[in-house]
């Protein structure tokens, strides 16, 4: 448990030694990068396996609030595990496809994974900002490493709004520090209700701007289509399945623990109904994302907008803040990560082999190589939330918690489900086009062993979660309890206990 810092330190170490080892032994350095990612996955799994409740880990002997602490609980453990697997699979795919020859690519992805782990585990708001910035810097560079003419456009389109939003975030930090005198998340959480209502709302807005931007919420997310299209497919996959997942996690943590003081229910800052606002913006995101995806011909853009829609649904779930909605939101996030990863990698492989990025050009691909059609189908079913596939259980819980909210909830549910109908349309349109018999002859798409290994693992996960949600249910169901209420195993309590210890 105390060794959670390794999840951040080791990839950083390997990343910074990469320029040197990459020069000397280019092949070995790639293998080392991959081994590091494998280590991340195993270590994160080990930490998740050993988690019994929230534990605060002190870094470098400086007790919080002076030092920085890392907090491991079920939520961060689960999210870190999924993120590490997502990054491992995407980079393994990228490495095996032989696209990125330069060691710098792997250095940047290691930086990205280190910063994502930092985002997940850190217990300090400023540290969170730092990790967001590192993630951002590596993300911009990775987008720009794409080999198409949208790459630098996509990178700049992400960099500028994200930098503006991070300035806002820093303003929020300054205000919190000047009013509460601490930046430790747990400490802020226990005293946030004493902040003046207007100021509290202002702080919440400043912090949330950056988080919502990374969480792909409309209208903060104008970077999404450009960046996804410009980046290499494996990096798009990491954005959708890793970065969005981590940002959703931060949204949940800040929203439920800090702004709402762990009370559960709709988030309120003073007299401002922040929860209602997030709920509304989530519904708008679902609708806008799905309808925009409907109009796309470019597969990667379509998948990007579909991610936007899914994140909107998750935000709706988080904003409600009941046990079942939080559970549903996390379930939906995790299953979306796996399903979208499969979709992005398969689509990326097809685009790479055929050079065709629009679904209308994909006619007949699955006639020659049916397994790709099946992979896209299973991924789609997982994302849409069809029963027997992983997305269903998340969506099921979310619908169950929105539909009971009275008239507004009923309307919102109707809108979300209507958007899901649209989602079903464009995914099946995509899959069907692949199975159509086209006029032109299509070359057979071939994949290597690594791709089949990754995709079959992902299919297994999607189907297994769909058939038996109980596999991860045991850990997931403890999460709402650790966030809401004042349970002994809760996040805030765990850190506060340590703080009391430090005062003696």
């Amino acid at each position: 448990m105390n060794q959670v810092i390794l999840l951040i330190a080791i990839p950083l170490l390997v990343a910074f030694s990469m320029p040197l080892t990459g020069k000397l032994f280019p092949r070995v350095s790639k293998v080392i990068a991959l081994l590091t990612l494998l280590f991340e996955a195993i270590w994160a799994g080990f930490i998740l396996f050993n988690t019994k409740g929230a534990v605060s880990v002190v870094i470098g002997g400086w007790l919080p609030p002076f030092g920085i602490n890392l907090v491991v609980d079920h939520l961060s453990g689960v999210v870190a595990f999924v993120v590490s697997i997502v990054v491992l699979f995407s980079i393994f795919f990228q490495l095996s496809s032989g696209l990125s020859k330069k060691p710098n690519f792997y250095m940047l992805s290691l930086l990205l994974v280190a910063s994502l782990m930092g985002i997940i585990f850190t217990g300090d708001l400023f540290n969170l900002f730092v990790f967001f910035e590192i993630a951002g810097i590596s993300a911009y560079s990775l987008i720009a490493s794409g080999k198409n003419s949208n790459s630098s456009n996509g990178a700049l389109g992400y960099l500028i709004p994200a930098s503006v939003a991070s300035v806002f975030y820093l303003v929020g930090i300054a205000l919190i520090y000047s009013t509460l005198g601490t930046l430790n998340i747990a400490q802020i959480a226990s005293s946030f209700s004493s902040v003046k209502p207007i100021l509290a709302t202002f702080i919440a807005f400043s912090l949330l701007t950056l988080v919502l931007l990374e969480f792909e919420i409309v209208p903060f997310n104008s970077w999404v289509p450009r960046a996804y299209q410009g980046a290499p497919s494996s990096i798009s996959a990491i954005f959708s399945s890793g970065l969005a997942l981590a940002s959703g996690y931060v949204m949940l943590r800040l929203g439920v623990i800090v702004f709402n003081g762990g009370q559960g229910g709709f988030i309120r800052t003073g007299s401002f109904e922040l929860g209602h606002a997030l709920f509304g913006i989530g519904v708008i995101t679902v609708i806008a994302g799905e309808i925009a995806a409907l109009a796309q011909k470019d597969v990667k853009k379509m998948l990007a907008f579909s991610s936007v829609g899914q994140m909107g649904m998750v935000l709706v779930a988080f904003s409600i803040g009941t046990h079942s909605s939080i559970y549903g939101g996390i379930f939906a996030l995790i299953s979306h990560s796996f399903a979208k990863l499969l979709l992005f990698l398969t689509a990326g492989l097809i685009i790479m082999k055929t050079g065709k990025s629009k679904y209308t050009q994909w006619t007949g691909i699955a006639r020659c190589s049916p397994l790709f059609g099946v992979l896209m189908l299973i991924g789609s079913l997982g994302v849409i939330g069809i029963p027997l596939f992983s997305g269903f259980w998340g969506k099921f819980a979310i619908i169950g918690s929105t539909v009971v909210l009275g008239k507004i909830g009923f309307i919102a549910t109707t809108l979300i489900l209507a958007a899901s109908v649209v989602e079903g349309f464009y995914f099946f349109r995509l899959v069907h086009t692949m199975f159509e018999t086209g006029e032109e002859k299509v070359p057979k798409v071939k994949a290597n062993f690594a791709f089949w290994l990754i995709s079959s693992l992902l299919v297994a996960v999607i189907v297994a979660l769909g058939l038996r949600p109980g596999i991860i249910d045991g850990r997931l169901k403890k999460i709402p309890g650790e966030l809401i209420g004042n349970a002994e195993s809760g996040y805030v309590q765990a850190v506060n206990k340590q703080l009391k210890g430090s005062k003696k």
Partner: protein, 625 residues
Amino acid sequence: MMDFILPAIVIGPVLIGLLSFLFPRKMQWILFFLTNIVLLGAVFYIRDRQNLFFLFELSYFPVNKLTMGMAYSQLGWFFLAISTVATLLFSAFSVGFNDKKHATAIAPLWLILVGASNGIFMAHDWLWFFIVWESMSWTSLLIIGHGRNKSFKAGIFYYLLSLAGTFALLMSIWLIFRHTGNFEIGSGILFLAQASVRAPFYALVVLALFTLAFFTKSALFPFHMWPSLAHAEAPDDFSAYLSGIMIKYGIFGLLLVVIPVFAASPLHAFKAVSGVPLPLYFTGWISAVTAAWGTIMAIFSSDMKKLMAWSTVANVGYIGAALSTGTSLGYAAALFHTANHMFFKGAIFASLAAVKYRTGEREMHKLGGLAYVMPVTFITFLLGIIAAAGIPPLSGFASKWMIFQALFERKLVFQSTMIFFASTGAFLYLFRALHTVFLGQLPRRFAKVKEVGPFMSFSLIGLMVLMLIPGTAPGTLLKPINSVLGSMGFEQVKTGWFFVQGSTTAIDGGITTFAFVLAVAVVFLLFVLGGKKKKVEMLDNYTSGETPEDWNLTEERYHYGNKFYQPIEVLFKWVPLGAVEEKYRQFGNSLVRLGNLIHDFFQGHSAWGWQLVAGIALLIGLGVM
């Protein structure tokens, strides 16, 4: 009694379906046929074993101790039995149909679909019902949209409606769960019945959501257009299954939920019009409109599969109208007609598939005279349309008669008129189909067409038998239907093997059959003894010795089946028959346009920081609201 036979009839076909992906196509179809034989045995093995159930627990957090599974019910068993019998015959047909030239790869998916279908009929709780319902939806989409571009458009339209329906189902399931704390169907119905007094608005919303789900599946107005697309474009041998069995899921759902709620709720809970609760009266109107609409569209169709698809819509309208009377006679009539329609529409679609198998044509005016070369197919089709038109002594007569009796009992004048109009109109289109496809002159290019092979003939003959028996002896189906009604707590219909008592009068299948046989014998005698007969070549009479090719005209233009009912079409020109489809299309187009707008918003380069401002403004606005 906990037993594994219930899950076996669901998971068995699914597993065999998944396995059969590995086999060559011919094997897949044989496997499909064999599985259906075993299923038939299993279904009759579980007959009347009332306390059969299979439940299992699922670890799923928001619901403590989530149990889901299947249980035997008389209603479900009735549907299961008729659908299994029909599926077996269809599968026999498919084994013959899918030779090298016509082979499709749908057998594994179809097996999965059969499993899901069995699951729907044996559902014990909403969750299970929902899971198998949705699995059924998307597997059927994959089958309908199999390969061709045009059929996908049909399939996706069907799937969109169906997805909207399933999501309505999802919402209503949670709305009930919120109060009952479990997903059981039985307790949900009881709760809704109580709620109809205490919170009528809530009960109506939930019922409306359920009804929406089932209406989309059963293609009742305003979702009446999807069969004409999907049934027509689906693989030919699958159309029989689609039109015979899958369209009945909605009817099953209505009987499972909506009807029991109205039956269980107190009399004063809903306002009543001529003894029918207002919501049911409303669905009755919708059904009647659907019946009339389907009939008119069928009259105008020149594609034989489209014609029969519209006829299916009309028939579902009859069934819906019978259900909406809220009397046990109506329920019996609906169940009876459901079974009959399953067999006769299956027979019709199978014989049309046989025609297409041999000729490759779907447009009616390109065919003709096939009765000479395909006698078995012809007789099947003939019996099918006799049954569909409701002429004694075939099965459709008895059930249509019962529907009218049920409507008369409630004195529902308007609905009776509409249904009467529809079933008269049925003569028009059915006769047209018979005459243009099977009678008249045989085009020269089809002179060498042969009768279909043994498997398909077996299937067609089987379907013939299934149309004849209930017509002569309605009791064969009405007795099981009576036990269904009994198990649901309704009054039973007075019936013997041959005899049925309606609300105003009674009929006897034996006597009508006898009269019919006698009449046919007399006519046949007159035909044999009558004057000289001469065979006329196809083009002899139309062209007066001229060759149409000289004027660049094709033979089809001279086929009298071409634009057969143009006068009637002119008559109905003022009715906006395609309006609903047009509305859906416009809606879809505007969605795409909206999507492009949203995308442009994202793509706009000058929106660097403005979206942050817009986002914060939106947050503030929504929060203050």
